[in-house]
Amino acid sequence: MNAAAALVQLAGVALAPLLPGAIQTLKARLQGRKGPSVLQPYRTLWRLWHKSAVDPGGAGLIYRLAPPLVAACLLAALVIVPVAGRAGSFGLGNDALVLVGVLALARFALAAASWDPGNGFALMASARELMISVFGEALLVLALLVAALPAKSTDLLAMSAAAAGGHIWSGPTHWCGAIAFLLVILLETGRQPIDNPDTHLELTMIHEGPLLEYAGRDLAFLQWAGAARHWVILVLAAELYLPHWGGFAAYLCLLVVGVAVLCGALALVETEQAKMRILRVPALLGVGCAIALAGAGMWIGGVGV
């Protein structure tokens, strides 16, 4: 079973670009356009892989190192997040807070890299991303705290096992955690209303900004990392907040359905919602924090347990 889970985890390397592809296609259909194929991200990666990279003037070691390091962090994150309540033994453990740290390392590498050529747009975007992440980190750990309460552990395997069955949804706590985690998904995948992945205007970019100067295989790494971030966060959401029953196979099927539903929801939100003013985003995340804290408070206070 664990070997099968390990295979699915590693398959994430290849399957991750499907997720943004599916969201884009769905979004186009919802907007009445034909849109690109689900496989478009693979075509983009293929095209980038065969182009040469361009270094802007002044770029040094950190700038060159960042894309492989970001991709390596996301690869590590892929094997930390279990699939269908199981994980292969890759030796990295399955701790939720370690996952937070690994994602922070990826964010650091990219933000530091945008200082190297000193591109104004990249810096503007990373300043914004780091500002938002201040509130995003609080939201993320609180959402993880709510999910950790039933298991009394931050081991993602134990957390996933504690979320099994339907009884956990009878109290208010898990609902609060789920709402908070939906905001985490919007934030970490860089989707509207927090960020706009389709923007071609440098001034509005957040996640896309630091990628502006990259080309060729460097850009391919970063684009893949963006897709892998979708995979990590959506699978994590499904692990922690998807009601599930039965064995590994049944859970895996539910997981696929769950991730598909989440992709659909993201496409729907992007169609319905305009991008928020950037200075309003912390308030939105603060509401998420309050909801998560209220959920945790109700659990500790013994409401509906």
Partner: protein, 652 residues
């Protein structure tokens, strides 16, 4: 006399000799080498005591006769002191010669280290308080000898004023403890009742908290630490505030005889305010050294969070997690001492090479000073809490502790754990933002000053000191689990081994952090991806600025990078900006723009206090007329007053 006792005595004697060599013979480099050797010896003794668990010398007593000894907790702090002091002294051997007041500063360095060792080994009230005061005064003297301008004198004055006012708490706490015979004997204070316990707890919190830099008693720290010579800044931020935490741990954890819940909650609140406030004001600094000093407040706050969690666990009767949280605090003490010393030494090296530490006037130093820049990069990543370095290991432990506090009832305790958890996560993200800014402005990009173009790495001793500290950051980051069980044994309620020894951090009943495989995986994957990427690159192209030429005026600044955060937190930070437009002949001749973020507490607490104090002083001055007859009238009034009191039976 045992070997360890002899070793510690020899270490102290050698340390004094090291100071005397500098003071009397002027052998600065030789003296500092002797000091480094003596600190290494003392550190070895400390490690032996820590690992062996024995006590050498005297044990704690409430008498006033001087007594000295080393127990495992002292041993731990001695070991941390040595870990930071030895590389710092090696750095100082090449840094100090030629700087103003070098000889006196070199001699005072030995006195400062002696006072730190004295506080850590004192076993009675008198010598503890004596060394405690010396520890405050000696760096003040060294700063004044090294720099003589007015701003520095003012900084040193507020350092002495605030630490002495707050430091009264230390005297009150220790004298009260000695009065009840409770030094080293927790049962004595239990017998004295909760009133005495509360008094001691609060006095110690204020007294040691002032010296540790807890907000709102922190105001001296960002003034005093930056003006000291680099190696003293490193020792002050690395160790002096940790010695204050040592005192706090002694009183609150070992001698109080109780683990009241309010104290745990108070430490959580203080820790939360300190870590968030420290990092927020660090973000808006434009000079590297005050920025680093504010980060010391942040890290002391993180340690306070862990200590508060430990008290709450002890109060709830969970001795395993109480020990884990306590060990988390001690591990962060170690880690912060190491990376903060490294960062201050790096700042000193940059200042020597470039002549300024204004963040907007550095840049491109990683390429020009690879040793200093590389070490500084490691230290920055460690303090920003990034895996697999040491800062993340201890922050992960503190996060785990706070998360486990949130599992406890009553609701207030659990929720405070949750709030502290969110606050620590925010702190980590803010520190990341801050050090991305520092790395970008100092190490990366193009030089923003002529001096940066020609900057070169400092001499071998300075490089070696920083390289050793950077290596310690990496090693402690990779195998934190090797020291954790030893630290957990130091917790007051720990009986027997709490944790099994692993390379990684493996805690009972929760996830584990395995830095060694993680670092290996990240390294192998990154190298593999670099190999996959190959060498296919086109010629460099200019950076994209919407088709404009890229000129120096377009460079991003420290204020620019933190602007989004300043806008969001305007209500807290209250930035001030002044725009001055000079018009002449109907045209705008020049526009000057200044902006700064004043310290909220300085403006709202310290300035009114100082104003009131000065007003009271000028009122009192009116009593001193200088006329003999007035003083005779005062005496007469006093005598009459006393007689009235005696007559009414209030006195005697």
């Amino acid at each position: 006399m045992s070997l360890l006792a002899a070793g510690s005595l020899a270490g102290v004697a050698l340390l004094a000799v090291g100071g005397l060599i500098v003071a009397l013979r002027g052998g600065l480099r030789a003296g500092l080498a002797v000091q480094a050797a003596s600190m290494a010896l003392l550190g070895a003794v400390g490690i032996c005591v820590l690992v062996g668990g024995d006590v050498i010398g005297a044990s704690f007593r409430s008498t006033i006769a001087p007594a000295f000894g080393i127990d495992p907790l002292s041993g731990f702090f001695l070991a941390v002191l040595a870990l930071t002091a030895v590389p710092t002294l090696v750095f100082a051997r090449d840094y100090l010669p030629g700087s103003p007041g070098a000889r006196s500063v070199g001699a005072l360095t030995s006195a400062f280290l002696l006072s730190l060792v004295g506080v850590l080994t004192a076993r009675d009230v008198t010598s503890f308080l004596a060394f405690w005061e010396l520890m405050t005064l000696v760096p003040a003297a060294a700063i004044l000898l090294a720099r003589r301008d007015r701003a520095v004198r003012s900084a040193v004055y507020s350092y002495l004023a605030i630490t002495h006012l707050g430091g009264a708490g230390v005297w009150i706490a220790l004298i009260a403890l000695a009065y009840h015979g409770a030094i080293g004997d927790p049962s004595a204070l239990v017998a004295a009742g909760t009133g005495a316990q509360t008094l001691v707890a609060i006095a110690a919190l204020i007294g040691f908290g002032t010296k540790a830099g807890f907000i709102p008693l922190h105001s001296w720290l960002p003034r005093a630490h930056p003006v000291a010579p680099a190696h003293l800044s490193a020792l002050m931020s690395g160790m002096m505030i940790k010695v204050a935490l040592y005192g706090l741990i002694r009183v609150e954890f070992q001698w109080l005889g109780a683990t009241p819940r309010w104290l745990g909650l108070a430490l959580l609140a203080i820790g939360l305010v300190s870590c968030l406030g420290g990092v927020l004001w660090a973000l808006v600094q434009h000079d590297l050294k005050p920025l680093l000093a504010y980060h010391s407040i942040e890290n002391v706050g993180i340690i306070a969070l862990a200590l508060g969690a430990s008290l709450l666990f002890a109060n709830a009767g969970n001795s395993t997690w109480a020990a884990i949280a306590f060990a988390a605090a001690l591990l962060h003490v170690t880690n912060h001492a190491i990376f903060k010393a490294l960062l201050f030494l790096g700042a000193g090296a940059f200042e020597r090479a470039v002549g300024s530490l204004d963040l907007d006037h550095l840049g491109g130093l990683l390429r020009r000073m690879p040793w200093t820049g590389g070490a500084f990069l490691v230290g920055s990543m460690a303090i920003a809490g990034l895996p697999p370095l040491n800062g993340f290991a201890s922050e992960w432990l503190v996060l785990q502790s706070l998360l486990h506090v949130a599992f406890y009832r009553p609701l207030g305790v659990g929720l405070s754990g949750g709030v502290a958890l969110a606050g620590l996560a925010m702190t980590a993200a803010l520190a990341l933002l801050c050090f991305v800014k520092v790395i970008g402005l100092v190490l990366l990009g193009s030089p923003r000053r002529v001096e940066c173009e020609t900057a070169v790495d400092p001499p071998t001793g300075m490089r070696a000191g920083m390289a050793v500290l950077a290596m310690l950051c990496v090693v402690l980051g990779l195998v934190p689990g090797l020291v954790l069980p030893t630290l957990a044994r130091l917790a007051p309620d720990a009986h027997g081994p709490v944790l099994a020894r692993h390379a990684g951090l493996v805690l009972p009943g929760t996830g584990s952090y395995l830095p060694l495989p993680l670092a290996l995986a990240l390294a192998v994957l990154t190298l593999g991806l670099i190999a996959m990427r190959g060498k296919r690159r086109a010629a460099p192209a200019p950076s994209w600025a919407c088709g404009q030429p890229v000129v120096a005026a377009l460079n991003w600044t420290s204020a620019g990078f933190t602007k989004p955060l300043r806008l969001v937190l305007e209500a807290v930070l209250r930035p001030r900006r002044e725009i001055e437009v000079v018009r002449g002949g109907g045209m705008v001749q020049s526009v000057t723009y200044t902006a700064h973020v004043p310290s909220l507490l300085d403006a709202s607490v310290y300035e009114p206090t100082v104003r009131t104090g000065l007003r009271a002083a000028s009122f009192v001055r009116r009593l001193q007329s200088g006329n003999v007859r007035t003083y005779a009238a005062y005496l007469l009034g006093l005598v009459i007053g006393l007689l009235v009191l005696v007559h009414t039976g209030v006195l005697g």
